[in-house]
Symmetry: D2
Subunit: 343 residues, 4 copies
């Protein structure tokens, strides 16, 4: 099922995401020129059919104008790469930032490139390690012209209509059922992707909390410390269940209202390791959650669930320790409560 309109794309950054994007594009008949500071990554893609570039200049030279260069880079490397490209590219060329940049940077980067008449597109890309096979959900910001020109590229990368049932009430056109969407002007793509990740934080937390409640449904069977600092469980007879959380995640995958890709992934992780012993529970956060909460606050929109999910990640990494020490200190001051060291 090759594309009707093969195009050429330059890919800068051949980490897992970048490499898989190139593979998906080439499978569909597009041609890719690839560059990475890691030479072996370039060679690997060359072996799979891509044209290798040894420098940004080389990449630009090997692309036919109007060029399209897709950045799939760690956040810290985007700006210096963009600065270089601004000098190398020609008017009407386009840069697509497919990483997780902050949408406010998109606005300033587009403004930086405007005098050069180089187009800037921000493209939030969701799909993780599964995108090569499933396709990637794309949330795009930028001017109408270059977004339209790159349509065949986006169409190939996206999952396509077959990846989900049609929405019954939906009528009318648009690319959203293909799995990609031009959301608005510069920054709009990363704005929507940012919020997408905020939603993801909230959904993940809801699932994790629920499975934890089920995992602790045996609380009445566990021996609890009996002292003044520990509340006894009033009705232990109501918490006598030893439930297999992995099987619960598996059954929720079918027919239930919480059915979702996140539940699918959770079921898979629990199938591999029923108590998830490979993990300690220090949960990183990678920026989008923080920015989403900030946007909510700036807009004056309540987003308590997403905020809470973010805060919980901070908690998981021990960042609330000083506050917790203050609480223990207060309890000691007013009630003479000694802090318990365990339990």
């Amino acid at each position: 099922m090759a594309t009707d309109t093969p195009m050429q794309l330059g890919m800068i950054g051949l980490g897992r995401m970048g490499a898989n994007l190139v593979r998906r594009l080439m499978r569909d008949g597009h041609r890719c020129v690839v560059y990475d500071v890691n030479e072996s990554a370039v060679q690997e893609m060359e072996g799979e059919g891509a044209v290798a570039a040894r420098s940004l200049g080389d990449l630009v030279a090997k692309l036919e104008p109007p060029r399209a260069a897709w950045l799939m880079l760690p956040a810290a490397v985007v700006q210096p790469t963009l600065d270089q490209l601004a000098e190398l590219l020609d008017p009407d060329d386009a840069i697509i930032d497919g990483g997780n940049s902050y949408y406010r940077d998109d606005i300033s980067r587009a403004a930086q490139l405007a005098p050069h008449r180089i187009h800037y597109l921000d493209c939030g890309t969701s799909g993780g390690v599964w995108g090569l096979e499933r396709g990637y959900c794309l949330m795009i910001g930028g001017e109408d012209g270059p977004v339209a020109r790159l349509d065949p590229i986006f169409r190939t990368i996206a999952p396509g209509t077959g990846s989900a049932e049609p929405t019954p009430s939906r009528h009318g056109d648009g690319t959203a059922p293909e799995g990609y969407l031009h959301c608005g002007p510069n920054g709009a793509g990363h704005f929507v992707k940012m919020v997408h990740n905020g939603v993801e934080y909230g959904m993940m937390a809801a699932i994790a909390e629920g499975l934890s409640i089920i995992d602790h449904a045996d609380a009445g069977l566990r021996k609890r410390a009996a002292d003044a600092e520990t509340t006894p469980l009033r009705e232990p007879e109501a918490y006598q269940y030893e439930i297999d959380v992995g099987e619960v995640a598996e059954v929720w995958r079918r027919g239930s209202v919480v059915g979702s890709w996140l539940v699918d992934l959770t079921a898979d992780a629990l199938a591999r390791s029923p108590q998830l012993d490979d993990f300690t529970g220090r949960v990183s956060d990678s920026g989008e959650g923080r920015w989403t909460v900030r946007a909510a606050i700036d807009e004056g929109v309540p987003a308590a669930v997403i905020s809470t999910a973010l805060t919980d990640r901070f908690q998981s990494r021990g960042l609330g320790e000083f506050a917790d020490r203050v609480l223990s200190a207060m309890r000691s001051e007013f009630g003479g409560h000694a802090e318990k060291r365990s339990g």
Copy 2:
């Protein structure tokens, strides 16, 4: 694809859920005896092939022992119906409560039936108005024997393995991939269903908050009141986006990490009415969310996201008004802040 082991089931309660369960069972070759206080509901199912019963006694008389009677009733009617059945049924018969009963009631109801040697099964049933076609996710509690005996019934009602890709890391047996699971002894089924609904609250809230943040991404374009009681938006230039939230929901359905049935449904609702004008935003809560939070507290398990999602529903119905008046009163007391009546 008729079942290999046709069985007979009595269905008590022919609302939408009960009627659709009967239809799904009969399609697969099971025989159903049906009863409802609403005679026309009974006649409708009779027209579709069910055996009509005119009373609970009649239903019991028309079932062959060992009987299985499935209750699909409003919570308030379950106990009196059960009391009557306790007198009508014989030892080794089984009652299945498929509604949204509180799992603590299951424990006491099973104890009530035990002297009669009638089996009690609690069966959390998720699937909503879509279950007839998609199948229902079943979370079952009760003794091993009667659960095993009713396996053909559960298998028919559940969605079946074909309804989702296999979980890659999963090995071993079990019915979870069919979409039904024996979770444990009495109450375990409704316990898992209760938490399932708690998770649903959290996921719903995350999606709703995210779409709301996107809907308000035009905050910098809106005119805000400029007075001492209103914080000005510091960087209006960062909030100039007019984004179609319905299209966002649609694009998130494919390839994205937030892909889920809830997003599918949201996309459908927004396709029907882009600003959801048919709704006022008074969001009911139907018990399971409250019980889930209580379980988390009893167990001492953090469930901040689910708790917050529940609280937000109370807020949506104006139940925080007294607290909010207290806040306004305090502000007036210490700062002379007059309350704003709008904006």
Copy 3:
């Protein structure tokens, strides 16, 4: 300033709270008969002027009817003590539970004593280790008659009007300005005390969080890991403050809107140890917070702040670990994110 109406009271339980109540009562001219399972505690109070009892029976014998016996006991010991007293006391005697019992237990205990015509009073008592000097805030539930009869006792224990400025807009009678209040029938006292502690949780958390934000105002000076799992601080120049949190707590004690006893205590703790090194940050919760949240849910009243403060205490004790491992597992599944072990 001895009381005008000296009374006699039996005190059962001579821990810190019980002993100090006896001291405060005797200072004001009341007579106390005291009992504790710990004989040396009894002797100590005898040395200070109390009448020693060697058993519950002895205590009852040494009190003149109508008797008043105040229980100041760990929650687990209240019921058995009450059971014994029910046999020893006479009609029209009164039992006061001054501990932190659950108000629902008050209701059933009052019902238990009613056939004996023994009065039951629940008396929430706040004041911690400071109450001997400052007096205790009393929240009382029970019948009008016995509450009125014991008024001189409550008046002595409470702080008295002099302990705070009069409320300017307040007119009319009532004992609240003395620092004690008959809140309603059985359980009402402990209900109000329960919520009081819930409010305390929220206030404590607000103060602790604020001081933590101030303590971390030097975030821009700290070196942060720079990797894909760590969000860089975008504007380190805005977080260059090294602020003495102890001095901040001290200055907030005077004239500020957050001025409160909790801030007083925090300032004291920080004066003793600027980084609170004696504490690890494992914060216990002792029941009232949990019950408050449950009451809010039962009533359908939003109490997001108190709920959150409770959840945070669970988090501080590591009770969210399983949920956090689920989150890390999901991140690993969809994004190949390896969990960071520190930072």
Copy 4:
């Protein structure tokens, strides 16, 4: 008790706060030159002993160098006033911003004034309408020299040591026990004041929620709708209390752990109007809460309670309506739940 070291201060902005600061300064022997765009405000202060200025230039002319000009202005007017003063003042003069400016603006304003060698001090001022009598809590940022020079001014404005008991464990010097504190370089004062207000949000919410739970302790007496969309109260007998919340606030003022100025103010408001009928419950937020949450996020510090308190204010103003409509729409889609219009 006049100051030992009378100074001269220019006050720009004679709203309630500015005027009261002038009165408190003059009472203590300081001399004030005052200016406001509202001529009658200037005349009123002139009548009380201040020197009237008819323009910023006039004010500068009437102050002896090195001058000190205190701005007590709405946030929107600070920058233009500062721009004018930058032209009018001389090297070594000082501007104090006593309003609620964002601390990041302090940093840029100090940088703006630095080339003019004009000192900039930010002074967070808490005390509301009560400060004239009680004194104001001052949180100060800026260079050591000018802060030291203005010490007599700060000392007069602050409440003084007598306004609270000494902190028992405190030793050593410092002005914090007087009620004012030099927190650090430019912005540190407003940073601490910002967080102070965040703490205030959390404390206010905790108190309001608690009183609301008490106000609804009669939930078992109220008739609830009985339908599929409304969860019945399982144990109405536990919610039969009709408690006077105003009396509860009053009793909490003395001896209790929640004793605080905010409880004092709440008791006063409830004494005036037991159900607070003058208020609708639309609670404004004035910036500091938002900025506090943003600081917490930037620092990676959990601040769930303060965040929640902020979100609740948004909720109180109906800003969650779109999200709530999304929730109702989802419920309608999956469960056929019709939205309830009341109750």
